[in-house]
Amino acid sequence: MTPVRQVWGSLSGRLLIVLISATLAMWTASSVSIYLMIKHELQEIFDESLAETAHALLSIRLGQLNAQHSPYPEIAQGQHNERIIFQIWRQDGQLIYHSVGLGQQPVIAQPNQRPSKHPYGWIDLNGQRYRTLQVADQAGHYQIHIAEQDHIRQQIFHETGLHLISIAVLFMPILAGLIMILVRISLRPLVHVTEQIHAQSSDALQPIALTHVPTEVLPLVEALNHLLEQIRESFEREKRFTANAAHELRTPLAVIRLHTQVLQGARDAAEAQEAIGDIQTGVDRCSRLMEQLLVLSRVDPNHPTQRQALERCNLAEIAQRVITQYRFRLQQLQLVLHTELADAALLGNPDHLEIVIRNLLDNAIRYRGDSQHMWMQIQQDATHITFRMTDQGVGIPRDERSKVFDRFYRLSNAPSTGSGLGLSIVWQIIQQHQASIEIQDGEQGQGCSFCIRFPALSPTAYTA
């Protein structure tokens, strides 16, 4: 079972089996039909020559013939296994001549009967099969009954048949070999493609060359190239990201390292205390960066867990949750967060939306400058839900507003203390929610305002 399946499973095996058996069947059918045709034709030729023999015999001046004076003593005394035997009858039923094999009795037909339209027939005589013919002369005075041994014909038929079979036996292997070679040549482009795929390595993915690719395989190779391109891009992305991440981790690590050395060389207790504090800050930064990297990889649209469906959630509730988390910090820094949170239902991932709000609030606090006020607003109209986080802080220069969502981008107008990932995480989550984000000037033209517009839930979705 298994080897058969193996052969059938391979394209070349399948082609070989189909082609060879089809050829074999065609050959057999044509041989049989040729054999039958030749047999029929030969039968006719033999019958005609039998008729000619009969007519030739009739053209002899039969009037001078009688039983006693045979002009052909060799025929009269012929032997049993003669090829052709015959009787000649006169109109009145008188036998005037007979070959030894046929005797004096009418065997083929009655002598007084006129030959029918189909004068041929078959008889068995002395264990032999004969082809018979009854012919009369034009005047109707004489009839000749003639018989020819059938085994002569049969022998020729057998020889023809044998010949046909021997051709088949001789040429079939050659043909099979040709088919095999042809199949192999036809499938060679597939082997080429396979070799090219084998030659790929994950760090240098090359598209498969489309030259010499047969039309049938072209869509497959093109689809494969498309996939290769996607894989290559995602590899590149990963590589860039890893390089960036490693680069970013170096700075907090350098901070920790330097501060431990500063601690070793500390000139007084206060300096040592400060160094310890800075080491802690460095460690916090490292862990925050790690956390952000993990979040970023989790909200990556290509990440498998992103396939999960978004659920219905209330943005105001999520915002309230974030504000509660930040209450203590806001109090500590003596900051005032003005809120105006309208209930707004949307389809989203509540965990990710919480990250968005937290990152934006965190940024507003981090880059607050000298201001103490910030504003959080959720509004809803017929088509959209708008979330707005506004501050009066250092702001973002206009020409940098499109860049701040890039990973590890740093503002030129503020010393950096963050991971450089917060806003790119926000960006990814916004993409995931089919929302848009825009940076506008902040309150009274100072600071900045992040404005996110989510598509509102349609009325049908409410009932669902």
């Binding site: 700075t251 690590l253 010393p415």
Partner: protein, 223 residues
């Protein structure tokens, strides 16, 4: 020696500054490219430590401008970029050396020492001036084979003058190399240090050039 540290990361700059200060360097820190010019105009620097990844423009631009202005100040690049190409570009643009983040404090100090040594035409850490031998690394001073004890300020002034033998150095130059701009400089503190040095190393070593400053004459040129 006065060092300008151009580094955008606040914590990293702070750590580097304190570390260098512990090693008796005077360090000014700037976080953005915009601040650089002001500091360069206000002070004379022996070394500039430059972070290539400044947020408001590539540190490479700072370096190119510096060299266009024909500044001879040695520049050491601080870079987190591990790309060979960046280092090559930096060196070609006029940097003297580079350190890769996360760097070691002592490595930075050693490299700063190395480039300044070169800038003053020294190849060793030992300065020899007649009977006076000054080791810049171990900070040991000996006169005719007898070890002398100097305070760190005294040592720095001595090294400063020895590195500029034959030149007349003003009090302002010494203050520039010795004091943070936040430090309070009493009007005669340099004079006090010079006074102490003369007491320890002999009156003839440091010569006062009236109304200009101080100098240590080259060996052999003394009468």
């Amino acid at each position: 020696m006065r060092v300008l540290l151009i580094e955008d990361d606040v914590l990293l700059a702070k750590a580097t500054r304190i570390g260098l200060e512990q090693a008796q360097f005077v360090v000014d820190v700037v976080h953005t490219r915009l601040q650089v010019d002001g500091f360069l105009a206000a002070y004379e620097y022996d070394v500039i430590l430059l972070d290539l990844g400044l947020p408001d423009g590539d540190g490479m631009q700072v370096l190119r401008r510096l060299r266009q202005q024909r500044s001879m100040t040695p520049v050491i690049i601080l870079t987190a970029r591990d790309q060979v190409q960046d280092r090559i570009e930096g060196l070609q643009a006029g940097a003297d050396d580079f350190v890769i983040k996360p760097y070691d404090l002592y490595e930075v100090i050693a490299r700063v020492d190395a480039v300044t040594r070169r800038a003053f035409g020294r190849v060793q850490q030992e300065l020899v001036h007649g009977e006076l031998v000054v080791n810049c690394y171990s900070r040991q001073v000996s006169l005719s084979g007898v070890a002398m004890t100097l305070t760190s300020r005294e040592f720095l002034i001595l090294q400063f003058l020895l590195d500029r033998r034959g030149q007349v150095v003003s009090r302002g130059q010494i203050e520039n190399a010795l004091y943070q701009y936040a430090d309070e400089i009493s009007s005669n503190s340099v004079e006090v240090h010079i006074h102490h040095l003369r007491k320890k190393l002999g009156k003839t070593l440091i010569r006062t050039v009236h109304a200009v400053g101080y100098t240590i004459d080259k060996v052999g040129s003394m009468a």
